[in-house]
């Protein structure tokens, strides 16, 4: 069924509806309806994603000419994004009920939502940039919700990275806009490809969006911010918001013509490295949300590989894009379910609940690990298909690496399950339906979405009942078991723990050193300089002596002898001038 929906107001409502409750929040009387409506503000967007099956663009007289619309790529992104926003929103209503700061949370949640949905719907560069910025900055309010010192630090680092991202993106946008001569996003990849400043633009784009996407070494904010935020916000951050960076790449980078093997290879290498790096560091974490955050770094790395493929091999563009679409959807839902699950597990009180929650978490974790029949397996299949397009030596290595990455993911998921496994010793909370219902929906979606939607995906899913999908999970599971056994042994004292933020800490250490150098060397030098300046103020004192001398000179003019002499001298001079000159 195809429905054409071209009324601008409809599209505006998709991004504007979230702002409406946000505006109502300050009014005391309208506060609770606004809070009640919060999750459903994403409903129009979901509706558009479900109903609009053609490319549609509507124009609105906003900013520098706003264009909203959908293409197949963004439709997929909109679908999972809107879904997750609704689920997390419903979840948040219960999770944060009674929290003094819930009103503020709602405000930021809605603003972030508007930004996130808007950037997907945006079909022009300026609006895209606007919504991207809105999302990035508004999410700060979500991150620092708890207000503790550690959270504030995480928030600060998040904000700095967002701002840095802006600093790279804005010039990239400007260069792109000038190169394209239009703000239409359709024209952008070709314009970037044809621009004389292509390397500069691409570099700026990779870094600018890379920060949001948690790319290798640009991910430092991610393991800090995701655990710091309240659980529903973490789900959003990890599930949908980091995908915005990915979407940015897909919309702006010149995928297709021409072949850019160097850039492609770079992305592939960075992606694979991130995939393993995330797991390695994640394994050392003990907080379940930190583990999930590092898992996101790892998973985003895998998606970056697909991007690299598309960059390197123009013919593989469609394959790679499909892979990314499937993978992103899968990861968003799975990660959402996992994050929400952490909160649910915290509230478990009975053993029956414990069992059910455990099963749910296991399902989601297995999906992420890519167990056969799961959405993860489907996504990995697509990814693998895409990698075949790469020239030969790389192709084989890549598929091996991908399988190893699946092992690693399983390992990390095992670590996560161990960390999160509902613990009955903890004080019992009441597990309200507001928490478990949305979570259940998420888990069900993770488990079944590949079968609910296009038939094509379902067939792929059935094909994943293969050894190639099975063995990495099995190996991973074994390793987890072994590791668990080792870990529980009394003699085992080796418990590596890399602090969240990893390389950032190196940077901070470096800054600290610089600070010490400043205190030790620069400040004394500066003081010496200013002392010198004070000394030259003494010079000024001498100048006032000149002033006094001048004034005394005026006093001298008063005497008749001087005055008369001057008179005579002037007379003589004047005469000489008249006669001689």
């Amino acid at each position: 069924m195809t429905i054409t929906l071209t009324h601008p107001a409809l599209w505006l409502s998709a991004v504007g509806l979230p702002l409406l409750p946000a505006l109502l929040l300050p009014v005391a009387r309208l506060r609770s309806p606004a809070q009640l409506l919060m999750p459903w503000a994403a409903a129009p967007a979901l509706g558009l994603a479900l109903l609009v099956s053609q490319e549609v663009v509507v124009e609105l007289p906003l900013l520098l000419g706003m264009r909203l619309g959908l293409i197949p790529l963004t439709r997929v992104f909109l679908l999972f994004t809107a879904l997750l926003w609704i689920i997390a929103g419903v979840y948040a209503q219960s999770y944060l009920a009674g929290d003094a700061g819930f009103r503020r949370f709602c405000g930021f949640y809605l603003l972030t939502m508007s930004g996130n949905l808007g950037l997907i719907l945006a079909r022009d560069l300026v609006s895209f940039y606007f919504f991207f910025t809105l999302m990035g900055l508004a999410a700060y309010g979500l991150v620092i919700h708890a207000g503790t010192a550690a959270v504030q630090r995480a928030g600060r680092i998040y904000l700095i990275l967002v701002i840095l991202g802006e600093a790279f993106l804005l010039p990239a946008m400007l260069l792109t806009a000038v190169a394209a001569g239009t703000y239409n996003l359709e024209a952008v990849p070709a314009a970037v490809a044809g621009s004389a400043q292509r390397p500069l633009i691409m570099g700026l784009l990779l870094i600018g969006f890379g920060i949001k996407a948690g790319a290798l070494f640009l991910h430092v904010w991610l393991p800090l911010a995701h655990p710091a935020a309240p659980t529903p916000a973490s789900a959003i951050l990890s599930g949908t918001m980091i995908k915005a960076g990915l979407l940015g790449w897909l919309l702006f980078l010149p995928l297709g013509e021409p072949a850019l093997p160097a850039w492609g290879t770079f992305c592939m290498v960075a992606g694979i490295t991130a995939a393993f790096y995330g797991v390695v560091v994640g394994l050392t974490q003990s907080h379940p949300k930190s583990i999930l955050a590092y898992s996101s770094v790892s998973q985003m790395g895998l998606m970056t590989v697909a991007l690299g493929v598309a960059l390197a091999v123009p013919t593989a563009r469609t394959l790679a894009l499909s892979a990314i679409m499937v993978y992103a959807t899968h990861h968003a839902l799975a990660k959402g379910a996992l994050f929400l699950g952490v909160g649910v597990a915290d509230h478990v009180s009975t053993s029956r609940q414990r069992l059910l929650v455990g099963v749910g978490l296991l399902l989601a974790a297995l999906a992420l690990a890519g167990a056969p029949l799961s959405s993860g397996a489907v996504a990995k299949t697509f990814l693998k298909d895409a990698t075949y397009a790469v020239s030969d030596p790389w192709s084989a290595r890549l598929s091996l690496l991908l399988q190893l990455a699946a092992v690693a993911t399983t390992l990390l998921m095992g670590r996560f399950l161990l960390a999160v496994w509902p613990d009955t010793r903890k004080p019992a909370h009441h597990l309200s339906p507001g928490l478990w219902l949305p979570w259940s929906v998420a888990v069900l979606l993770v488990a079944g979405w590949v079968f609910l939607l296009p038939e094509e995906l379902a067939t792929v899913a059935v094909k994943t009942l293969a050894f190639s999908s099975f063995w990495p999970v099995a190996v991973g599971a074994l390793l987890v078991g072994g590791g668990w056994w080792l870990y529980r042994r009394p003699g085992m004292r080796f418990r590596p723990a890399i602090p969240e933020g990893d390389v950032l800490l190196l940077l901070l250490w470096l800054l600290n050193v610089l600070q010490r150098v400043r205190r030790a060397g620069v400040v004394p030098a500066w003081n010496a300089l200013t002392r010198q300046a004070d000394r030259s103020a003494g010079h000024w004192q001498r100048q006032t002596d000149v002033v006094t001398t001048l004034i005394r000179l005026e006093g001298r003019l008063n005497t008749w002898v001087v005055a008369g002499t001057i008179f005579m001298v002037l007379l003589t001079l004047a005469l000489l001038l008249v006669v001689l000159v």
């Binding site: 300050p26 007289p61 906003l62 900013l63 520098l64 000419g65 706003m66 300026v126 940039y129 606007f130 910025t133 809105l134 900055l137 620092i144 207000g147 504030q152 904000l159 701002i163 802006e166 600093a167 804005l170 010039p171 400007l174 260069l175 806009a177 000038v178 400043q197 500069l200």
Partner: protein
């Protein structure tokens, strides 16, 4: 006299007459004074809107009165003039409402409103000036009319600031005068002409460069170009409405507007490029942008931080002028309007804080957002605008400036813009953060008794209005009659006469 010649005079008269009248009203005739004043402002605004429509349709308004042999007092409205005129007339109304709420505790209302009106008159004169002489004329009267406002409190600090202000301003005026007279002695009276009035004349290059430098230096004092900016932070001693309108908008804009006039309508872009003066100008502007931001970073006094921010932001306009291109022209000119709206909001808010809670330092602002949410919303909007975040007005300016820089191949200017944006964030966001997210160390001690609103409604309404405008000007930039579209109209009229200029 024809109507079209009369209207510019009426625009001036609409503010000069009530101002002069107010000097002779008793200090206790507060009600009469206010009504007189507001009435005048509405008349002025109506006149300006009337003119605006006429200019849009291509009509011309010109008043010419010979003042000296060869020197005319010339008022002439064009699209560029209207932008500045609209800014000054619109903000005058808003600021007056604010001043009514603010001035209660300060003495000498008559004097204040009188000179305030005279300042606005000078600004209107600057906007409408049709030749260099008239521009200079109002440039100096603006100095004179603002001095009493700076020293209004009559404290030692205020008077010291007034002296500094006066010295800078008169020195700047002298340089401008030198440039104007020199040019006039070379080519006769110089009228502002879209596309440049010196186009097609064969003149000595080095003399022209010197004249250009003199004029820019003279105008640069009021624009607070580095290193001529020293007076601006000192002038912040004035009462808040003055800082808001006069020193964030009128005076500094007078300089920036003058630079726009000189570059586009006296020399013309083509000649400027030939003379090679634009690159140094863009360097000066860039230096100022960065320098102002760096200085702002370390100020704890709110108004001083805002003042240094003004130093920085004004040079955006100059930078836009110095980069040859349609987009940069639009960006620079539209920033005239946008910066005014945003900065006035910030100063309004700073004034509200000082007036209501006695807060003047940033370190005292922790948690103030809870006490005064509406004020801080306005403040935050203006801050976001200043930083250049979409969808606020500042983004539009910055976007066009950046596009212009890219078009002209001056990528380094983009780097300057980005650096400035980062610095803007560095000195503005901590304020916003402290206001919303921190907890006040000590409870606020109110200077103003709490009323129905968080502060006097006359104080709050102007701040919210300009904050709203900041949003609207950005959000609806693409619609007709937005400042952006008007600037595009100006740019079109300024640049179409010389299409060859715009090549790289």
């Amino acid at each position: 006299m024809e109507l079209s010649a009369l209207i510019p005079l009426l625009v001036l008269a609409s503010s000069i007459l009530p101002s002069l009248l107010i000097f002779f009203l008793g200090e206790d005739r507060a009600r009469l004074r206010i009504w007189l004043y507001l009435g005048a402002e509405i008349v002025k605004l109506l006149l300006v809107v009337f003119m605006l429509e006429g200019i849009y349709l291509g009509q011309s308004y010109e008043t010419r009165i010979p003042l000296l042999p060869g020197v005319d007092f010339l008022l002439r409205a064009n699209a560029l003039a209207m932008l500045f005129l609209m800014l000054s007339a619109g903000l005058w109304l808003v600021t007056t409402i604010y001043a009514i709420g603010y001035m209660e505790e300060l003495p000498y209302h008559g004097r204040f409103y009188g000179f305030f009106g005279l300042s606005v008159t000078s600004t209107a004169g600057l906007a409408l000036a049709g030749n260099l002489f008239t521009f200079y004329f109002f440039y100096e009267t603006l100095t004179l009319a603002t001095y009493p406002l700076v020293v209004h409190r009559q404290t030692r600090e205020a008077l010291a600031a007034g002296r500094t202000y006066m010295r800078y301003a008169v020195a700047g005026g002298a340089l401008l005068l030198l440039g104007v007279v020199w040019l006039q002695s070379l080519v006769g009276p110089v009228e502002f002409t879209e596309g440049g009035s010196l186009v097609g004349r064969n003149l000595n290059t080095s003399a022209l460069v010197a004249i250009f430098a003199l004029m820019i230096a003279g105008l640069g004092v009021k624009t607070a170009l580095f290193p001529l900016h020293g007076w601006l932070p000192m002038a912040m001693i004035a009462p808040a409405p003055v800082s808001a309108l006069v020193h964030a908008v009128a005076v500094v804009k007078a300089g920036a507007f003058g630079i726009v006039r000189v570059v586009y309508e006296v020399f013309g872009l083509g000649l400027c490029r030939q003379l090679g003066v634009l690159f140094p100008l863009s360097l000066v502007a860039s230096t100022t942008i960065i320098y102002g931001s760096l200085r702002a970073l370390v100020q704890d006094d709110l108004k001083r931080r805002l003042a240094y921010s003004t130093v920085s932001q004004l040079s955006y306009i100059v930078l836009g002028v110095a980069i040859v291109g349609t987009a940069s022209t639009i960006g620079g000119i539209v920033h005239l309007m946008h910066q005014g709206i945003m900065k006035i909001t910030l100063f309004f808010c700073a004034g509200i804080l000082a007036h209501t809670l006695g807060i003047t330092r940033i370190s005292e602002m922790d948690g103030v957002g809870r006490r005064m949410p509406a004020t801080m919303v306005a403040f935050s909007i203006a801050v976001f605008g200043m930083i250049g975040l979409p969808p606020f007005a500042g983004f539009i300016s910055k976007w066009y400036l950046g596009m212009g820089a890219v078009e002209a191949g001056q990528i380094w200017s983009v780097a300057v813009l980005i650096t400035s944006t980062l610095l803007n964030m560095a000195y503005f966001l901590p304020i916003v953060y402290a206001a919303w997210f921190k907890v006040p160390a000590v409870p606020f001690t109110e200077k103003l008794p709490p009323g129905r609103f968080e502060t006097g409604p006359l104080l709050l309404a102007p701040a919210l209005t300009t904050a709203l405008l900041t949003l609207l000007f950005g959000l609806f930039a693409a619609s007709d009659f937005s400042p952006l579209q008007w600037s595009a109209l100006i740019a079109e009229r300024e640049l179409t006469t010389q299409p060859e200029v715009l090549g790289p």
